[in-house]
């Protein structure tokens, strides 16, 4: 099968081609399509580039090895995001055990939060680099359950239905978590977007 022909394939057609004919080119195209979106998602979630690279690579390896476990009834994007999300959660748990990072405890009822960026002057905040850093810090302070859904919705722009499928929860729960996460973020970042 020609490369040009494969490039016109949808994600689902590519994974099917890889499943049925073991066409590595189809797999490579999927990697090309998803490496950056996954990097973006996982980096916002972990806030660590090296760890992100490991998780994304592991995700791609899992897709390669477990290609046959993909069922055509699901969207490929949902499947790959589910794998990446699970691996990212595992990575965070490992880090917690190693006490490498300090984040708020995992849970929806945890309302504790700190205001980030208090050490930055208003002049600094206008700098886009600093602003990004403050937003990232705020994201990391969000409880994981909120952080993940907020990233998937507001940064990755996935639909509520897709997020519900990835997280294996109801659409209502997704909306609720996103709302809570946004509310907390809004409080944390109030001093930035009011600039």
């Amino acid at each position: 099968m020609g490369d040009k022909q494969l490039k016109n394939f949808t994600d689902e057609e590519l994974i099917l081609e890889f499943q049925l004919n073991n066409t590595v080119k189809a797999y490579e195209l999927l990697v090309q399509r998803y490496k950056n979106p996954l990097f973006n998602f996982i980096f916002k979630y972990l806030n660590d580039y090296e760890g992100t690279e490991d998780v994304v690579q592991e995700t791609m390896i899992k897709v390669y090895i477990n290609k046959d476990s993909y069922k055509t009834i699901a969207k490929f994007s949902t499947w790959i995001y589910t794998i990446a999300s699970n691996l990212a959660i595992t990575e965070l748990k490992k880090r917690k055990r190693r006490n490498q990072i300090s984040i708020n405890s995992y849970g929806e009822n945890d309302e504790t939060m700190e205001l980030p960026g208090t050490n930055h002057s208003p002049e600094e905040i206008t700098d886009s680099g600093i602003k990004s850093k403050i937003i990232m810090e705020a994201l990391q302070k969000l409880p994981e359950v909120y952080r993940e859904v907020v990233i998937l919705r507001d940064i990755q722009e996935l639909s509520y239905e897709e997020i519900a499928e990835i997280k294996q929860i109801s659409v209502g729960t997704v909306k609720s978590r996103i709302n809570r996460g946004r509310t907390q973020l809004q409080i944390m970042l109030k001093h930035i977007y009011k600039e």
């Binding site: 490496k35 690279e53 690579q57 090895i65 937003i135 209502g172 970042l189």
Partner: protein, 229 residues
């Protein structure tokens, strides 16, 4: 359900802030690193584990030991049989005059040294039904250099006879003389690419039919031709 009654526009500014975050991209060598990792995984999968290797070596030692034992047993049987064989044994084996029967079962066997064509004239129905006939065959091989030949007789009781001949005498008549109930005659010829070519005929001491006699005659002539060459 207060939390669900929110409006997307309530967080418009926040969403803009989040969208303003720079996109994080994969490093340039991501694909090549990934393919290297995949190849390593595949290589590891192909390599047997330490336990598999141990088990394989144990089994291979066992198989070698079994084969060696089997080979030793065969050698021992062969030695015992060779020691037991005497020319006079032939006479004891077959109590009645030998006639030849044919059963044209041919096979070819090739190996690095020789190509053998054997015509077996020994296994027809009458032979199978003849309970008194002993399952004996003689092997007379003739090589090109001087047509030295041997006759080896094997019976169910594993009696082995060995006759040396100065000429091709391992023909059906020999079996009458020796009283063999069965005989295989092999003649050989050399060629440039096939050092030894052999043809063999075996026969047993059961009544031969007319077509079988014709076949035996043709065998005799073949042997004679080989001798002339």
């Amino acid at each position: 359900m207060k939390n669900l009654d929110y409006n997307e526009n309530d967080f418009r500014e926040l969403k803009e802030l989040l969208k303003s975050l720079p996109d994080t991209k994969a490093p340039p060598g991501f694909e090549s690193n990934l393919m290297r990792s995949l190849n390593q995984i595949k290589y590891k999968e192909e390599q047997p584990s330490i336990w598999q290797r141990i088990l394989n070596s144990v089994f291979s030692i066992g198989a070698t030991a079994s084969l060696t034992t089997a080979a030793l047993v065969l050698i021992m049987i062969s030695i015992v049989n060779n020691n037991a064989e005497t020319l006079s044994d032939f006479d004891k084996l077959v109590p009645y005059p030998v006639e030849l029967v044919s059963n044209d079962v041919a096979y070819e066997k090739s190996n690095s040294e020789q190509s053998t064509v054997t015509k077996n004239y020994a296994s027809n129905q009458s032979r199978k039904n003849d309970k008194t006939a002993k399952d004996i065959s003689a092997l007379i091989s003739v090589n090109q250099t001087g047509f030295k030949s041997k006759a080896v007789v094997l019976s169910r009781s594993a009696t082995v006879g060995l006759i040396d001949h100065d000429k091709i005498t391992g023909n059906p008549d020999d079996s009458q003389q020796t009283g063999l109930s069965g005989m295989t005659i092999v003649y050989s010829e050399k060629s440039a690419f096939n050092p030894v070519k052999r043809q063999a005929v075996s026969f047993r001491a059961v009544p031969a039919s007319e077509p079988e006699d014709i076949m035996i005659d043709s065998l005799k002539s073949l042997l004679k031709e080989a001798q002339i060459e």
